[in-house]
């Protein structure tokens, strides 16, 4: 935005922005970004509740009491204060299961996004940096991945190696790296042609040094945005896999699993699917809003109102 650069040469803004390091500029933008603050705040609350909630409330997500099955939440007739959100089909406290589910969702979302990032960014940087036939090969792999019906592949792999949290993380990650690759590659191509990379070559820096110090750090802004989006996508993928019965293993409380378990009681115990659905919704919304926020914050061209 030419206008912002113009603005910089006028009056007081010049001083304000000029005195700040890039990090300070971002922090300042973050402070002013309502969506980011909302998303990050909500995410912090969910993460806090997920980690400490069950402990503070003294609830266990695994303790069964078959005589206390399918109690409704307190605000519905029949609910009891011992179980604020009622109990599930095995008589386990639903609040504890939902809170614990946050932990599972976040672990899987972050874990899978990390795996995807590792694959995608590595391939993307290599393809973008070297170009030519390397790029063509990576492009072929990318096309294959895009054309592959992911859910089916995920199911097959889970059959092959058997279900566990680790497997689910790896499988989801291995299926969600295309966006990382595309973004990393195009950004690498762009950065590759920038003068500071040529300057680094000219001062004798090795290719690895250039990739690590000149290209990767400058990709991170965009990668972080993709990362947050992919965390959301991975969380939903886990929910889908668990819904189909090939994801997280019971009794581990994953939200997708809770919805799948509550699905049969759709009409008469709707809270069994509505509550984890809302939890899932809030978590993904908070992560996506944070991602949108980070995009605005890290985009050097954006102005934050």
């Amino acid at each position: 935005m030419q206008f912002l650069q113009n603005l910089v040469s006028f009056g007081k803004i010049k001083k304000d922005l000029r005195d700040m390091t890039p990090v300070e500029v971002m922090l300042r933008k973050a402070r002013l970004h309502k969506g980011f603050k909302f998303g990050a705040g909500l995410l912090l609350i969910i993460a806090f509740l997920g980690v400490f909630g069950p402990m503070i409330l003294g609830l266990s997500p695994y303790e069964q009491d078959l005589t206390q099955r399918l109690l409704p939440p307190v605000w519905i007739e029949g609910g009891v204060w011992d179980h604020w959100l009622g109990t599930d089909g095995n008589g386990r406290d639903y609040l504890a299961r939902i809170l614990f589910g946050a932990r599972i969702s976040i672990i899987i979302g972050v874990g899978a996004a990390c795996v995807g990032m590792l694959i995608g960014v590595t391939l993307g940087v290599i393809a973008g940096f070297f170009g030519g036939w390397v790029d063509q090969v990576v492009n072929f792999i990318l096309t294959c991945q895009l054309a592959l019906p992911g859910l089916l592949l995920a199911m097959t792999i889970v059959f092959l190696v058997g279900p566990s949290i680790f497997v689910v993380i790896m499988v989801i990650g291995a299926l969600h790296w295309t966006l990382f690759l595309v973004v990393a590659r195009s950004a690498t191509k762009r950065i590759r042609s920038l003068d500071y990379v040529t300057a680094a070559e000219a001062i004798g820096a090795s290719k690895l040094q250039i990739m690590l110090t000149d290209i990767l750090p400058n990709l991170m802004n965009q990668i972080v945005v993709i990362f947050t989006l992919e965390v959301g996508v991975a969380i939903l993928s886990e929910a889908s896999l668990s819904f189909l019965g090939v994801g997280i293993q019971p009794p581990t409380p994953s939200w997708g699993l809770l919805i799948a378990e509550g699905k049969d009681a759709l009409f008469y115990q709707p809270w069994l699917i509505i509550l984890p659905g809302i939890a899932l919704f809030l978590l993904v919304v908070s992560i996506n809003m944070m991602g949108d926020g980070i995009r605005d914050i890290t985009d050097p061209e954006s102005t934050v109102e």
Binding site: Y62, Q64, L66, T67, R69, L70, G89, N90, G91, V158, F159, G162, P163, G245, V246, Q249, P250, P251, E261, K263, D264, A265, L266, F267, Y268, Q269
Partner: protein, 510 residues
């Protein structure tokens, strides 16, 4: 692009304009709609194994024998009567008033053709079982046949019940059988004939007016549609909105909740299905604690069967201590009984050297709630259960690869009130079956010996001895009987039979 948008919106509009033409299912046009969770992909039960196919088979086909739902005994159906000439010879006289849907009369030729087809076509699902005991079939008259057995076989009538009689020549000739001849249309003998079939979607049936009655009686409802609706929630919604009138395999929670609506009736009746844990006592998956009988007994003591049966499964479900449903023939009840006693379980584990418990991979593929409940019980005595709940395909693979230490299975013995049925599949020679993990050849000898004689007393003795051995050595953890839940709309009368097997032709309008 603009044109494309116009086209797209046109499609959407057209979609909204089309009047909803939901198949009207009600008393007024004498059409009953029932829902199955699994798909029907083939009409020919001779090529199928699943429960759904038996139900459909009983609607469109008929067999020589049939199970009387009240007495749980085999009774003649297409057969008029039968004589056991000796241990290996059975004479059967056929009814003479039976016609195929096409109008042709059924004669001994059709029966002989059918059994020869089963014996020679090794692709059909009945072949292996029948060929195991049936030596041959001969015509003794226009309406009578003789079965020659290789050896005495007790579960004969169950196997004969499962063979659907086909029209002479309809499957092709020997060496040239067409497995798809009756796959999408069927010329059966049953109370209903198929008017249309959309594989995986629905079967439309119409009453066969020439039906002979017999053991099944004459169906009161003229038209019947069986729809495949995989999602149980969707089935409920259809039932509420009048799209279907009957659904089964409905668990207690759903049924109880649905039954609060005056439009819906819920029956939670008895079933022949039982649940059990199969333990790798023989150490096929390697050396692990379950090879120690004390550990297996501890597991038997650890699970609160009654609580799970009452609270989770409900209805008439109750704890069982035998590797068979107590109501079926030969299911000896005087066996070692392991009461729920966690302390004793812990003591046994300690005695076996596992005072601190041990890690156990427990596989399951059905009834997730019960699996979690029993895993919880096991973990309370110190067994750290890693529940591996997945799809059957995964379990099958692991079981075949002998990787399973323990799994939670259930067995329905569909409409087969004899211990032989459950024994045959679960206690085979380990070389021929991967479910017998006892590691004790004696079990196989006793449990499969029980079907190799027609002497009732001898059979009882063999099963009794076998079941006592199983219980004593705790090769299994027998868990509970299941109950069968059916939801039906309030305009039909459906009475559940004691074996829990749905006989849809008995449904009538209120």
């Amino acid at each position: 692009m603009n044109r494309f948008i116009k086209y797209a919106s046109g499609v959407a509009l057209a979609a909204l304009m089309v009047a909803p033409t939901v198949a009207l299912a009600d008393k007024a046009n004498d059409t009953l709609v029932a829902a199955f969770s699994r798909e029907l992909t083939n009409l020919d039960y001779n090529y199928g194994t699943k429960t759904e196919y038996i139900i459909l088979g009983d609607l469109v086909d008929d067999s020589l024998f049939y199970v009387d739902p009240k007495t749980l005994a085999y009774v003649p159906s297409l057969a008029a009567d039968f004589t056991i000439v000796n241990d290996t010879t059975v004479d059967v006289n056929l009814r003479q008033d039976v016609t195929f849907h096409s109008g042709a009369a059924m004669t001994a030729d059709d029966v002989i053709y059918t059994f020869n087809f089963i014996l020679t076509d090794d692709q059909n699902s009945r072949h292996a079982k029948i060929a195991d005991w049936l030596d041959g079939i001969e015509k003794t008259g226009e309406f009578s046949v003789r079965f020659n057995l290789k050896a005495p076989y007790a579960n004969l009538f169950n196997d004969l019940y499962r063979v659907r009689i086909r029209k002479d020549g309809i499957m092709g000739t020997a060496g040239n059988y067409d497995s798809n001849a009756q796959a999408t249309t069927i010329d059966g003998l049953g109370p209903y004939k198929v008017t249309s079939f959309d594989p995986g979607v629905e079967v439309v049936l119409e009453r066969h007016e020439g039906y002979f009655g017999g053991a099944k009686g004459t169906p009161p409802i003229k038209n019947m549609v069986i729809r495949s609706i995989p999602d149980i929630g969707t089935q409920q919604a259809e039932l509420m909105s009048g799209g279907i009138q009957w659904m089964y395999n409905v668990k207690k929670d759903v049924g109880d909740a649905m039954a609060r609506s005056p439009k819906v009736n819920y029956q939670l009746g008895e079933s022949l299905r039982i649940g059990f844990l199969i333990l790798d006592a023989g150490g096929y998956s390697g050396d692990h604690p379950l090879t120690d009988v004390r550990v297996r007994r501890a597991m038997n003591h650890a699970i609160n069967r009654s609580s799970i049966a009452t609270n989770l499964i409900g209805g008439p479900a109750k704890a069982v201590h035998t590797a068979c449903n107590p109501v079926v023939f030969g299911c000896e009840q005087d066996v070692a009984i392991y009461e729920y006693d966690p302390e004793k379980a812990k003591a046994l584990l300690a005695e076996a050297g596992y005072a601190d418990g041990f890690d156990l991979d427990l596989w399951s593929y059905r009834d997730k709630q019960a699996a979690q409940a029993l895993a919880d019980d096991l973990s309370k005595v110190g067994i750290r259960v890693n529940l591996k709940h997945g799809k059957l395909a995964g379990l099958n693979k692991a079981r075949k690869a002998r990787e399973i230490q323990a799994y939670f299975g259930t067995w329905g013995s569909t409409a087969s009130p004899d211990t032989a049925t459950i024994a045959n599949i679960h206690w085979r020679d380990p070389a021929k079956g991967d479910r017998n993990l006892s590691g004790n050849p004696k079990v196989n000898e006793l449990m499969l010996g029980g079907e190799k004689t027609l002497d009732v007393a001898e059979r009882k003795r063999l099963y009794s001895e076998g079941l006592k051995l199983i219980a004593d050595q705790a090769y299994w953890v027998p868990l509970w009987t299941y109950s069968e839940g059916v939801l039906s709309s309030d305009d039909i009368v459906y009475n559940q039979d004691p074996d829990g097997y749905p006989r849809l032709w008995n449904i009538k309008w209120k």
